[in-house]
Protein backbone atom coordinates (compact mmCIF):
# COMPACT_ATOMS: atom_id res chain seq x y z
CA UNK A 1 0.00 0.00 0.00
CA UNK A 2 1.34 3.38 -0.95
CA UNK A 3 1.29 6.18 1.55
CA UNK A 4 -0.55 9.13 0.12
CA UNK A 5 0.96 12.53 0.83
CA UNK A 6 -2.25 14.26 1.83
CA UNK A 7 -2.74 17.25 4.11
CA UNK A 8 -4.00 15.03 6.92
CA UNK A 9 -0.42 13.96 7.71
CA UNK A 10 0.34 17.44 9.01
CA UNK A 11 -2.20 16.81 11.77
CA UNK A 12 -1.99 13.04 12.19
CA UNK A 13 1.77 12.61 12.46
CA UNK A 14 2.44 14.99 15.38
CA UNK A 15 -0.66 13.67 17.18
CA UNK A 16 0.46 10.05 16.82
CA UNK A 17 4.02 10.86 17.87
CA UNK A 18 2.78 12.89 20.83
CA UNK A 19 0.52 10.15 22.15
CA UNK A 20 3.18 7.47 21.73
CA UNK A 21 5.49 9.49 23.96
CA UNK A 22 6.01 6.82 26.70
CA UNK A 23 7.72 4.75 24.00
CA UNK A 24 10.05 7.62 23.09
CA UNK A 25 10.95 8.12 26.73
CA UNK A 26 12.01 4.49 26.97
CA UNK A 27 14.00 4.69 23.73
CA UNK A 28 15.46 8.10 24.77
CA UNK A 29 14.27 9.61 21.54
CA UNK A 30 12.25 12.54 22.92
CA UNK A 31 14.43 15.44 21.87
CA UNK A 32 15.50 13.96 18.49
CA UNK A 33 11.84 13.34 17.62
CA UNK A 34 10.74 16.77 18.76
CA UNK A 35 13.21 18.06 16.20
CA UNK A 36 12.70 15.44 13.49
CA UNK A 37 8.91 15.51 13.24
CA UNK A 38 8.55 19.23 12.41
CA UNK A 39 11.57 18.90 10.12
CA UNK A 40 9.97 15.99 8.27
CA UNK A 41 6.71 17.90 7.92
CA UNK A 42 8.65 20.95 6.76
CA UNK A 43 10.24 18.87 4.00
CA UNK A 44 6.83 17.43 3.12
CA UNK A 45 5.31 20.93 3.01
CA UNK A 46 8.09 22.24 0.78
CA UNK A 47 7.72 19.23 -1.50
CA UNK A 48 4.01 20.03 -1.83
CA UNK A 49 4.69 23.57 -3.09
CA UNK A 50 4.56 22.68 -6.82
CA UNK A 51 1.44 20.54 -6.29
CA UNK A 52 -0.43 23.29 -4.46
CA UNK A 53 0.72 25.85 -7.01
CA UNK A 54 -1.16 23.88 -9.67
CA UNK A 55 -4.34 23.51 -7.60
CA UNK A 56 -5.22 23.64 -3.88
CA UNK A 57 -5.38 20.26 -2.22
CA UNK A 58 -8.77 19.35 -0.85
CA UNK A 59 -9.35 16.40 1.37
CA UNK A 60 -12.62 15.27 2.86
CA UNK A 61 -12.47 12.76 5.66
CA UNK A 62 -15.83 11.15 5.27
CA UNK A 63 -17.72 9.62 8.16
CA UNK A 64 -20.96 9.00 6.24
CA UNK A 65 -21.62 10.67 2.88
CA UNK A 66 -23.15 14.02 3.88
CA UNK A 67 -21.05 14.33 7.02
CA UNK A 68 -17.34 14.78 6.93
CA UNK A 69 -14.45 16.95 7.90
CA UNK A 70 -12.89 18.93 5.21
CA UNK A 71 -9.24 19.98 4.96
CA UNK A 72 -8.22 22.70 2.58
CA UNK A 73 -4.56 23.24 1.70
CA UNK A 74 -4.13 26.28 -0.51
CA UNK A 75 -1.11 28.48 -1.14
CA UNK A 76 -1.71 30.71 1.90
CA UNK A 77 -2.20 27.74 4.23
CA UNK A 78 0.97 26.16 2.85
CA UNK A 79 2.99 29.28 3.72
CA UNK A 80 1.69 29.02 7.28
CA UNK A 81 2.42 25.28 7.47
CA UNK A 82 6.01 25.79 6.32
CA UNK A 83 6.38 28.60 8.83
CA UNK A 84 4.94 26.62 11.77
CA UNK A 85 7.03 23.55 11.13
CA UNK A 86 10.17 25.59 10.56
CA UNK A 87 9.55 27.40 13.84
CA UNK A 88 8.82 24.10 15.58
CA UNK A 89 12.06 22.56 14.33
CA UNK A 90 14.08 25.63 15.36
CA UNK A 91 12.50 25.62 18.79
CA UNK A 92 13.23 21.90 19.21
CA UNK A 93 16.82 22.41 18.13
CA UNK A 94 17.20 25.21 20.66
CA UNK A 95 15.82 23.04 23.47
CA UNK A 96 17.84 20.01 22.39
CA UNK A 97 21.25 21.60 21.90
CA UNK A 98 21.15 23.99 24.83
CA UNK A 99 21.57 23.61 28.53
CA UNK A 100 17.79 23.56 28.84
CA UNK A 101 15.91 23.65 32.11
CA UNK A 102 14.65 20.16 33.08
CA UNK A 103 10.99 21.15 32.96
CA UNK A 104 11.39 21.90 29.24
CA UNK A 105 13.10 18.61 28.40
CA UNK A 106 10.75 15.92 29.69
CA UNK A 107 7.69 14.16 28.35
CA UNK A 108 5.17 16.86 29.24
CA UNK A 109 6.72 19.67 27.18
CA UNK A 110 7.26 17.20 24.34
CA UNK A 111 3.55 16.36 24.18
CA UNK A 112 2.46 19.96 24.70
CA UNK A 113 4.72 21.42 22.00
CA UNK A 114 3.61 18.73 19.54
CA UNK A 115 -0.05 19.41 20.34
CA UNK A 116 0.44 23.15 20.04
CA UNK A 117 1.89 22.72 16.55
CA UNK A 118 -0.89 20.27 15.65
CA UNK A 119 -3.57 22.64 16.89
CA UNK A 120 -2.17 25.56 14.93
CA UNK A 121 -1.75 23.46 11.79
CA UNK A 122 -5.29 22.16 12.16
CA UNK A 123 -6.73 25.65 12.56
CA UNK A 124 -5.05 26.72 9.35
CA UNK A 125 -6.04 23.62 7.38
CA UNK A 126 -9.58 22.92 8.47
CA UNK A 127 -12.57 23.88 6.40
CA UNK A 128 -15.12 23.20 9.11
CA UNK A 129 -16.18 25.64 11.80
CA UNK A 130 -16.66 23.18 14.63
CA UNK A 131 -13.44 21.41 13.78
CA UNK A 132 -11.84 24.85 13.98
CA UNK A 133 -13.22 25.19 17.53
CA UNK A 134 -11.73 21.81 18.47
CA UNK A 135 -8.29 22.73 17.11
CA UNK A 136 -8.55 26.12 18.78
CA UNK A 137 -9.05 24.36 22.10
CA UNK A 138 -6.23 21.86 21.42
CA UNK A 139 -3.83 24.71 20.76
CA UNK A 140 -5.28 26.67 23.66
CA UNK A 141 -5.07 23.93 26.28
CA UNK A 142 -1.51 23.03 25.32
CA UNK A 143 -0.56 26.70 25.50
CA UNK A 144 -2.09 27.10 28.99
CA UNK A 145 -0.26 24.04 30.24
CA UNK A 146 3.00 25.10 28.57
CA UNK A 147 3.00 28.50 30.22
CA UNK A 148 2.46 26.90 33.65
CA UNK A 149 5.19 24.27 33.16
CA UNK A 150 7.72 25.79 35.53
CA UNK A 151 5.25 25.37 38.41
CA UNK A 152 6.53 28.35 40.38
CA UNK A 153 4.47 31.33 41.40
CA UNK A 154 4.90 33.33 38.21
CA UNK A 155 4.35 30.40 35.87
CA UNK A 156 1.18 29.21 37.63
CA UNK A 157 -0.15 32.75 37.63
CA UNK A 158 0.54 33.05 33.90
CA UNK A 159 -1.07 29.67 33.22
CA UNK A 160 -4.21 30.53 35.21
CA UNK A 161 -4.60 33.93 33.61
CA UNK A 162 -4.08 32.46 30.17
CA UNK A 163 -6.58 29.68 30.86
CA UNK A 164 -9.30 32.05 32.05
CA UNK A 165 -8.95 34.60 29.27
CA UNK A 166 -8.47 31.88 26.64
CA UNK A 167 -11.60 30.03 27.74
CA UNK A 168 -13.64 33.23 27.60
CA UNK A 169 -12.44 33.70 24.02
CA UNK A 170 -13.36 30.11 23.22
CA UNK A 171 -16.87 30.56 24.66
CA UNK A 172 -17.43 33.63 22.50
CA UNK A 173 -16.17 31.76 19.45
CA UNK A 174 -18.39 28.76 20.23
CA UNK A 175 -21.37 31.08 20.64
CA UNK A 176 -20.73 32.48 17.17
CA UNK A 177 -20.44 28.97 15.70
CA UNK A 178 -23.72 27.95 17.38
CA UNK A 179 -25.53 31.00 15.97
CA UNK A 180 -24.12 30.32 12.51
CA UNK A 181 -25.32 26.73 12.65
CA UNK A 182 -28.77 27.73 13.86
CA UNK A 183 -29.06 30.30 11.08
CA UNK A 184 -27.65 28.35 8.15
CA UNK A 185 -27.69 24.68 9.18
CA UNK A 186 -24.13 24.41 7.90
CA UNK A 187 -20.72 24.09 9.46
CA UNK A 188 -18.56 23.82 6.36
CA UNK A 189 -16.91 27.21 5.97
CA UNK A 190 -17.49 27.46 2.23
CA UNK A 191 -21.14 26.43 2.57
CA UNK A 192 -21.61 28.90 5.41
CA UNK A 193 -19.96 31.58 3.31
CA UNK A 194 -22.35 31.08 0.43
CA UNK A 195 -25.35 31.30 2.80
CA UNK A 196 -24.01 34.04 5.03
CA UNK A 197 -25.49 36.92 3.03
CA UNK A 198 -28.94 35.41 3.64
CA UNK A 199 -28.74 35.82 7.42
CA UNK A 200 -30.64 38.88 8.77
CA UNK A 201 -28.36 41.87 9.17
CA UNK A 202 -28.62 42.25 13.00
CA UNK A 203 -27.75 38.57 13.40
CA UNK A 204 -24.80 39.00 11.02
CA UNK A 205 -23.58 41.87 13.15
CA UNK A 206 -23.94 39.81 16.36
CA UNK A 207 -22.07 36.86 14.85
CA UNK A 208 -19.37 39.20 13.56
CA UNK A 209 -19.02 40.83 16.96
CA UNK A 210 -18.80 37.50 18.80
CA UNK A 211 -16.19 36.25 16.32
CA UNK A 212 -14.25 39.49 16.64
CA UNK A 213 -14.20 39.30 20.44
CA UNK A 214 -13.33 35.58 20.48
CA UNK A 215 -10.63 35.67 17.85
CA UNK A 216 -9.54 39.19 18.84
CA UNK A 217 -8.62 37.94 22.31
CA UNK A 218 -6.76 34.99 20.83
CA UNK A 219 -5.04 37.04 18.13
CA UNK A 220 -4.01 39.65 20.72
CA UNK A 221 -5.78 42.66 19.23
CA UNK A 222 -6.32 45.89 21.14
CA UNK A 223 -8.37 46.26 23.42
CA UNK A 224 -8.42 42.52 24.12
CA UNK A 225 -4.66 42.13 24.64
CA UNK A 226 -4.11 43.46 28.17
CA UNK A 227 -3.23 39.93 29.34
CA UNK A 228 -0.46 39.21 26.85
CA UNK A 229 2.58 40.77 28.58
CA UNK A 230 1.76 38.98 31.84
CA UNK A 231 1.67 35.62 30.07
CA UNK A 232 4.91 36.23 28.19
CA UNK A 233 6.55 37.48 31.37
CA UNK A 234 5.49 34.44 33.40
CA UNK A 235 6.22 31.76 30.80
CA UNK A 236 9.67 30.61 29.97
CA UNK A 237 11.17 32.78 27.18
CA UNK A 238 11.46 29.77 24.87
CA UNK A 239 7.74 29.08 25.35
CA UNK A 240 6.91 32.72 24.79
CA UNK A 241 8.79 32.43 21.48
CA UNK A 242 6.39 29.66 20.51
CA UNK A 243 3.34 31.75 21.46
CA UNK A 244 4.55 34.83 19.65
CA UNK A 245 5.93 32.89 16.70
CA UNK A 246 3.29 30.26 15.99
CA UNK A 247 0.13 30.62 18.06
CA UNK A 248 -0.66 34.27 17.34
CA UNK A 249 0.07 33.81 13.65
CA UNK A 250 -2.39 30.92 13.47
CA UNK A 251 -5.12 33.01 15.09
CA UNK A 252 -4.48 36.02 12.85
CA UNK A 253 -4.67 33.70 9.86
CA UNK A 254 -7.95 32.19 11.07
CA UNK A 255 -9.46 35.61 11.76
CA UNK A 256 -8.69 36.86 8.27
CA UNK A 257 -9.52 33.57 6.59
CA UNK A 258 -13.02 33.84 8.08
CA UNK A 259 -13.36 37.54 7.28
CA UNK A 260 -12.34 37.10 3.65
CA UNK A 261 -14.46 33.99 3.24
CA UNK A 262 -17.67 35.01 4.99
CA UNK A 263 -17.97 38.57 3.82
CA UNK A 264 -18.71 38.99 0.13
CA UNK A 265 -17.67 42.61 0.46
CA UNK A 266 -14.62 43.05 2.73
CA UNK A 267 -15.26 46.81 2.92
CA UNK A 268 -17.63 46.21 5.84
CA UNK A 269 -14.89 44.89 8.07
CA UNK A 270 -12.03 46.89 6.53
CA UNK A 271 -12.45 50.04 8.62
CA UNK A 272 -12.87 48.00 11.83
CA UNK A 273 -9.88 45.75 11.29
CA UNK A 274 -7.56 48.49 10.05
CA UNK A 275 -8.57 50.69 12.97
CA UNK A 276 -7.98 47.90 15.48
CA UNK A 277 -4.66 47.05 13.84
CA UNK A 278 -3.47 50.65 13.91
CA UNK A 279 -4.55 51.10 17.55
CA UNK A 280 -2.92 47.81 18.58
CA UNK A 281 0.31 48.89 16.92
CA UNK A 282 0.49 52.40 18.37
CA UNK A 283 -0.64 51.60 21.90
CA UNK A 284 1.70 48.60 22.17
CA UNK A 285 4.71 50.46 20.83
CA UNK A 286 4.13 53.38 23.20
CA UNK A 287 3.74 51.14 26.24
CA UNK A 288 6.84 49.17 25.22
CA UNK A 289 8.93 52.31 25.68
CA UNK A 290 8.84 52.14 29.44
CA UNK A 291 9.07 48.41 30.15
CA UNK A 292 11.69 47.31 32.66
CA UNK A 293 11.64 43.59 31.87
CA UNK A 294 12.98 42.20 28.60
CA UNK A 295 10.15 39.70 28.26
CA UNK A 296 7.49 42.36 28.72
CA UNK A 297 9.25 44.62 26.25
CA UNK A 298 9.38 41.82 23.68
CA UNK A 299 5.72 41.02 24.35
CA UNK A 300 4.69 44.61 23.62
CA UNK A 301 6.93 44.69 20.58
CA UNK A 302 5.24 41.49 19.41
CA UNK A 303 1.84 43.14 19.87
CA UNK A 304 3.03 46.09 17.82
CA UNK A 305 4.02 43.82 14.96
CA UNK A 306 0.70 41.96 15.23
CA UNK A 307 -1.01 45.34 14.87
CA UNK A 308 1.03 46.07 11.75
CA UNK A 309 0.15 42.70 10.23
CA UNK A 310 -3.56 43.18 11.01
CA UNK A 311 -3.47 46.69 9.55
CA UNK A 312 -1.95 45.36 6.33
CA UNK A 313 -4.21 42.30 6.07
CA UNK A 314 -7.28 44.35 6.92
CA UNK A 315 -6.73 46.54 3.88
CA UNK A 316 -7.19 43.38 1.80
CA UNK A 317 -5.36 44.46 -1.32
CA UNK A 318 -3.10 41.91 -2.95
CA UNK A 319 0.11 43.88 -2.37
CA UNK A 320 -0.48 44.56 1.35
CA UNK A 321 -1.69 40.99 1.95
CA UNK A 322 1.44 39.54 0.35
CA UNK A 323 3.52 41.96 2.42
CA UNK A 324 1.65 40.94 5.56
CA UNK A 325 2.29 37.24 4.89
CA UNK A 326 5.98 38.01 4.40
CA UNK A 327 5.96 40.09 7.57
CA UNK A 328 4.37 37.20 9.49
CA UNK A 329 7.28 34.97 8.44
CA UNK A 330 9.80 37.66 9.37
CA UNK A 331 8.21 38.39 12.68
CA UNK A 332 8.11 34.72 13.62
CA UNK A 333 11.82 34.33 12.85
CA UNK A 334 12.76 37.57 14.62
CA UNK A 335 10.76 36.85 17.74
CA UNK A 336 12.13 33.31 17.92
CA UNK A 337 15.61 34.81 17.75
CA UNK A 338 14.96 37.53 20.33
CA UNK A 339 13.20 35.25 22.79
CA UNK A 340 15.94 32.62 22.42
CA UNK A 341 18.53 35.29 23.21
CA UNK A 342 16.38 36.29 26.20
CA UNK A 343 16.32 32.64 27.31
CA UNK A 344 20.12 32.45 27.08
CA UNK A 345 20.52 35.69 29.04
CA UNK A 346 18.07 34.47 31.67
CA UNK A 347 20.07 31.27 32.12
CA UNK A 348 23.27 33.25 32.52
CA UNK A 349 22.14 36.28 34.53
CA UNK A 350 19.05 34.79 36.22
CA UNK A 351 17.18 38.04 35.63
CA UNK A 352 15.88 39.93 32.63
CA UNK A 353 15.38 43.33 34.22
CA UNK A 354 16.94 46.29 32.46
CA UNK A 355 19.03 47.21 35.49
CA UNK A 356 20.55 43.72 35.74
CA UNK A 357 21.67 43.52 32.13
CA UNK A 358 24.25 46.33 32.16
CA UNK A 359 27.30 45.41 30.12
CA UNK A 360 26.09 41.97 29.16
CA UNK A 361 27.24 42.62 25.60
CA UNK A 362 30.85 42.24 26.74
CA UNK A 363 30.21 38.90 28.45
CA UNK A 364 27.88 37.31 25.90
CA UNK A 365 29.03 38.91 22.64
CA UNK A 366 27.42 36.42 20.23
CA UNK A 367 24.02 36.43 21.91
CA UNK A 368 23.97 40.20 22.20
CA UNK A 369 25.13 40.55 18.60
CA UNK A 370 22.24 38.35 17.50
CA UNK A 371 19.89 40.48 19.60
CA UNK A 372 21.10 43.55 17.71
CA UNK A 373 20.60 41.75 14.41
CA UNK A 374 17.06 40.79 15.42
CA UNK A 375 16.28 44.34 16.57
CA UNK A 376 17.46 45.74 13.25
CA UNK A 377 15.25 43.22 11.44
CA UNK A 378 12.23 44.31 13.52
CA UNK A 379 12.95 47.94 12.74
CA UNK A 380 13.16 47.10 9.05
CA UNK A 381 16.68 48.15 8.20
CA UNK A 382 18.22 46.92 4.97
CA UNK A 383 19.63 44.41 4.14
CA UNK A 384 17.46 42.45 6.56
CA UNK A 385 14.18 40.87 5.61
CA UNK A 386 12.07 43.19 7.78
CA UNK A 387 12.96 45.98 5.39
CA UNK A 388 11.54 44.16 2.39
CA UNK A 389 8.29 43.09 4.05
CA UNK A 390 7.62 46.58 5.42
CA UNK A 391 8.49 48.00 2.00
CA UNK A 392 5.93 45.73 0.33
CA UNK A 393 3.26 46.81 2.79
CA UNK A 394 4.08 50.49 2.37
CA UNK A 395 4.15 50.13 -1.42
CA UNK A 396 0.75 48.45 -1.26
CA UNK A 397 -0.72 51.38 0.66
CA UNK A 398 1.02 53.92 -1.57
CA UNK A 399 -0.36 52.25 -4.69
CA UNK A 400 -3.86 52.63 -3.23
CA UNK A 401 -3.20 56.32 -2.48
CA UNK A 402 -3.82 55.75 1.22
CA UNK A 403 -1.28 57.60 3.30
CA UNK A 404 -2.34 57.53 6.95
CA UNK A 405 -1.24 53.90 7.46
CA UNK A 406 2.16 54.73 5.95
CA UNK A 407 2.64 57.61 8.37
CA UNK A 408 1.58 55.40 11.30
CA UNK A 409 3.86 52.51 10.30
CA UNK A 410 6.85 54.83 10.00
CA UNK A 411 6.01 56.46 13.32
CA UNK A 412 5.76 53.03 14.94
CA UNK A 413 9.16 52.10 13.49
CA UNK A 414 10.63 55.25 15.06
CA UNK A 415 9.22 54.37 18.48
CA UNK A 416 10.53 50.83 18.04
CA UNK A 417 13.98 52.20 17.30
CA UNK A 418 13.80 54.25 20.49
CA UNK A 419 13.12 51.32 22.81
CA UNK A 420 15.27 48.73 21.08
CA UNK A 421 18.26 51.08 21.18
CA UNK A 422 17.55 51.86 24.83
CA UNK A 423 18.07 48.18 25.59
CA UNK A 424 21.06 47.80 23.26
CA UNK A 425 22.71 50.81 24.87
CA UNK A 426 22.40 49.17 28.27
CA UNK A 427 23.74 45.86 26.91
CA UNK A 428 26.92 47.56 25.70
CA UNK A 429 27.32 49.80 28.72
CA UNK A 430 31.02 49.93 29.71
CA UNK A 431 30.58 51.48 33.14
CA UNK A 432 31.53 48.67 35.57
CA UNK A 433 29.93 50.50 38.50
CA UNK A 434 26.49 49.89 37.07
CA UNK A 435 26.99 46.16 36.57
CA UNK A 436 24.71 44.12 38.75
CA UNK A 437 26.60 42.32 41.52
CA UNK A 438 24.78 39.05 40.86
CA UNK A 439 25.54 39.15 37.13
CA UNK A 440 26.90 35.96 35.58
CA UNK A 441 25.57 33.81 38.37
CA UNK A 442 24.44 31.15 35.93
CA UNK A 443 26.62 28.73 33.96
CA UNK A 444 28.28 29.59 30.66
CA UNK A 445 26.29 28.31 27.68
CA UNK A 446 27.88 25.86 25.26
CA UNK A 447 28.50 26.70 21.63
CA UNK A 448 25.99 24.32 19.94
CA UNK A 449 23.00 26.21 21.34
CA UNK A 450 23.89 29.12 19.08
CA UNK A 451 23.38 27.03 15.93
CA UNK A 452 19.60 27.58 15.60
CA UNK A 453 20.06 31.26 16.43
CA UNK A 454 22.73 31.69 13.78
CA UNK A 455 20.52 29.84 11.31
CA UNK A 456 17.66 32.28 12.01
CA UNK A 457 20.05 35.20 11.58
CA UNK A 458 21.20 33.71 8.27
CA UNK A 459 17.61 33.30 7.08
CA UNK A 460 16.82 36.92 7.99
CA UNK A 461 19.79 38.07 5.91
CA UNK A 462 18.99 35.68 3.05
CA UNK A 463 15.36 36.78 2.77
CA UNK A 464 16.48 40.40 2.96
CA UNK A 465 19.04 40.05 0.18
CA UNK A 466 17.04 37.69 -1.99
CA UNK A 467 13.32 38.29 -1.38
CA UNK A 468 12.56 37.03 -4.89
CA UNK A 469 13.09 33.49 -3.57
CA UNK A 470 9.82 33.76 -1.68
CA UNK A 471 7.95 36.40 -3.64
CA UNK A 472 5.92 33.97 -5.74
CA UNK A 473 4.77 32.03 -2.69
CA UNK A 474 3.57 35.13 -0.86
CA UNK A 475 1.82 36.62 -3.87
CA UNK A 476 0.08 33.32 -4.57
CA UNK A 477 -0.79 33.02 -0.89
CA UNK A 478 -2.34 36.48 -0.95
CA UNK A 479 -4.27 35.66 -4.11
CA UNK A 480 -5.67 32.45 -2.69
CA UNK A 481 -6.54 34.14 0.60
CA UNK A 482 -8.46 36.87 -1.21
CA UNK A 483 -10.04 34.71 -3.93
CA UNK A 484 -13.34 34.05 -2.22
CA UNK A 485 -15.32 33.01 -5.28
CA UNK A 486 -12.71 30.54 -6.47
CA UNK A 487 -12.46 28.91 -3.04
CA UNK A 488 -16.21 28.54 -2.77
CA UNK A 489 -16.36 27.02 -6.22
CA UNK A 490 -13.57 24.55 -5.51
CA UNK A 491 -14.98 23.40 -2.19
CA UNK A 492 -18.65 23.30 -3.04
CA UNK A 493 -17.93 21.89 -6.46
CA UNK A 494 -15.79 19.18 -4.94
CA UNK A 495 -18.44 18.33 -2.40
CA UNK A 496 -21.29 17.94 -4.84
Amino acid sequence: MELQLTPVWFIALPLLVAFASPLWVRLQLLMPLLFAVPLLLLVLAISLVPVVRAAPLLETIVIAPPLGIHLHLDAAALVMLILFNLAGALMAAFLWLGDTEPYLRGRQPFILIMLLITGCTGMVLTGDLFNLYVFLEIAGVSAYALSALRRDRGALEAGLKYLIIGSVAAVFFLFAVVLIYLQTGQLNMAAVASDFAGIPAPMQALIGLLLLVGLGIKAELFPFNFWVPDIYRGSDPATAALFSGILVKAFIFVLFHLVFLLLADPDVARAWLMGLGALTMLVAELVALRQQDLRRMLAYSSLGQVGLIVLALGFASEATTAGALFHMVNHTLVKLLLFFVAALMLRRVLSLRLGDLHGIGHRMPVATGLFVLGSLAVLGLPPLSGFISKLWILKGFAAAQLFWPIALILLAALIEAAYYFRWIKVFYDTDPAKAHPGIMAGPVQGAPVYLPLLLIGGLLLLFGVAPFLLEVSFVEGAQSLLAREATLEQVLGARL
Binding site: Y133, R151, P229, D230
Partner: protein, 126 residues
Protein backbone atom coordinates in the same frame (compact mmCIF):
# COMPACT_ATOMS: atom_id res chain seq x y z
CA UNK B 1 -54.01 25.08 31.11
CA UNK B 2 -50.30 25.14 30.46
CA UNK B 3 -50.54 23.78 26.90
CA UNK B 4 -49.47 27.13 25.47
CA UNK B 5 -46.02 26.39 26.84
CA UNK B 6 -45.69 23.62 24.26
CA UNK B 7 -45.96 25.92 21.26
CA UNK B 8 -42.56 26.24 19.59
CA UNK B 9 -42.48 30.04 19.78
CA UNK B 10 -43.01 30.20 23.54
CA UNK B 11 -40.65 27.32 24.12
CA UNK B 12 -37.87 28.91 22.12
CA UNK B 13 -38.48 32.20 23.90
CA UNK B 14 -38.01 30.43 27.22
CA UNK B 15 -34.83 28.73 26.00
CA UNK B 16 -33.38 31.99 24.72
CA UNK B 17 -34.24 34.00 27.84
CA UNK B 18 -33.03 31.27 30.15
CA UNK B 19 -29.73 30.61 28.46
CA UNK B 20 -28.96 34.29 27.92
CA UNK B 21 -29.69 34.92 31.60
CA UNK B 22 -27.25 32.15 32.47
CA UNK B 23 -24.70 33.60 30.05
CA UNK B 24 -24.83 37.00 31.71
CA UNK B 25 -24.76 35.50 35.20
CA UNK B 26 -21.55 33.77 34.14
CA UNK B 27 -20.14 36.95 32.63
CA UNK B 28 -20.98 38.88 35.80
CA UNK B 29 -19.29 36.25 37.96
CA UNK B 30 -16.24 36.33 35.74
CA UNK B 31 -15.86 40.08 36.02
CA UNK B 32 -16.99 40.67 39.59
CA UNK B 33 -15.83 37.68 41.62
CA UNK B 34 -12.32 37.49 43.01
CA UNK B 35 -11.96 33.91 44.16
CA UNK B 36 -10.25 31.74 41.57
CA UNK B 37 -12.71 28.85 41.88
CA UNK B 38 -15.67 31.20 41.55
CA UNK B 39 -14.16 32.61 38.38
CA UNK B 40 -13.74 29.11 37.00
CA UNK B 41 -17.32 28.22 37.94
CA UNK B 42 -18.54 31.35 36.17
CA UNK B 43 -16.67 30.20 33.09
CA UNK B 44 -18.37 26.83 33.27
CA UNK B 45 -21.77 28.51 33.64
CA UNK B 46 -21.11 30.60 30.54
CA UNK B 47 -20.16 27.53 28.55
CA UNK B 48 -23.22 25.68 29.82
CA UNK B 49 -25.52 28.47 28.68
CA UNK B 50 -24.17 28.19 25.13
CA UNK B 51 -24.75 24.42 25.14
CA UNK B 52 -28.30 24.85 26.43
CA UNK B 53 -29.07 27.45 23.82
CA UNK B 54 -27.74 25.21 21.07
CA UNK B 55 -29.58 22.05 22.08
CA UNK B 56 -32.73 23.97 23.00
CA UNK B 57 -33.08 25.85 19.74
CA UNK B 58 -32.00 22.98 17.49
CA UNK B 59 -34.78 20.65 18.62
CA UNK B 60 -38.51 21.23 18.63
CA UNK B 61 -41.17 19.40 20.65
CA UNK B 62 -42.20 15.96 19.44
CA UNK B 63 -38.92 15.06 17.78
CA UNK B 64 -37.32 11.79 18.77
CA UNK B 65 -33.72 10.78 19.11
CA UNK B 66 -32.10 10.04 15.75
CA UNK B 67 -31.54 6.36 16.47
CA UNK B 68 -32.95 3.60 14.30
CA UNK B 69 -34.26 1.20 16.94
CA UNK B 70 -37.48 0.21 18.68
CA UNK B 71 -39.30 -0.38 15.44
CA UNK B 72 -38.28 2.91 13.83
CA UNK B 73 -36.98 2.32 10.31
CA UNK B 74 -36.72 5.77 8.73
CA UNK B 75 -35.41 9.16 9.79
CA UNK B 76 -38.75 10.96 10.05
CA UNK B 77 -39.63 13.32 12.85
CA UNK B 78 -36.21 12.99 14.31
CA UNK B 79 -34.08 15.67 15.87
CA UNK B 80 -31.03 16.96 14.03
CA UNK B 81 -28.15 14.90 15.48
CA UNK B 82 -25.40 17.41 14.67
CA UNK B 83 -26.07 19.89 17.52
CA UNK B 84 -26.15 17.09 20.06
CA UNK B 85 -22.93 15.54 18.81
CA UNK B 86 -21.27 18.95 18.83
CA UNK B 87 -22.56 19.78 22.29
CA UNK B 88 -21.24 16.49 23.64
CA UNK B 89 -17.82 17.25 22.15
CA UNK B 90 -17.89 20.78 23.54
CA UNK B 91 -18.87 19.50 27.01
CA UNK B 92 -15.89 17.14 27.00
CA UNK B 93 -13.53 19.91 25.93
CA UNK B 94 -14.99 22.31 28.51
CA UNK B 95 -14.62 19.65 31.19
CA UNK B 96 -10.95 19.13 30.32
CA UNK B 97 -10.19 22.86 30.40
CA UNK B 98 -12.02 23.23 33.70
CA UNK B 99 -10.08 20.33 35.21
CA UNK B 100 -6.79 21.87 34.11
CA UNK B 101 -7.88 25.22 35.51
CA UNK B 102 -8.90 23.81 38.88
CA UNK B 103 -5.69 21.81 39.18
CA UNK B 104 -3.61 24.90 38.43
CA UNK B 105 -5.66 26.89 40.93
CA UNK B 106 -5.12 24.26 43.62
CA UNK B 107 -1.38 24.21 42.96
CA UNK B 108 -1.26 27.99 43.02
CA UNK B 109 -3.12 28.09 46.30
CA UNK B 110 -0.83 25.48 47.86
CA UNK B 111 2.22 27.42 46.78
CA UNK B 112 1.13 30.90 47.77
CA UNK B 113 -1.85 30.53 50.10
CA UNK B 114 -3.67 32.95 47.84
CA UNK B 115 -6.85 32.36 45.86
CA UNK B 116 -7.70 35.97 45.03
CA UNK B 117 -7.38 36.74 41.36
CA UNK B 118 -6.75 40.41 42.00
CA UNK B 119 -3.84 39.68 44.30
CA UNK B 120 -2.01 37.95 41.45
CA UNK B 121 0.57 40.60 40.77
CA UNK B 122 3.76 38.61 40.41
CA UNK B 123 4.02 39.44 36.72
CA UNK B 124 3.47 43.17 36.85
CA UNK B 125 6.32 45.54 36.24
CA UNK B 126 7.14 47.33 39.42
Amino acid sequence: MLEFLDSPGVLQGIYITGSLTLFFIGLYGLLAKRHLLKVLISLAVMEMSVYLLFVGLATSPGETAPILADGLATFTGMADPVPQALTLTAIVIGMAVLALGVSLAVQYHRLTGNADIRAMSELKDS
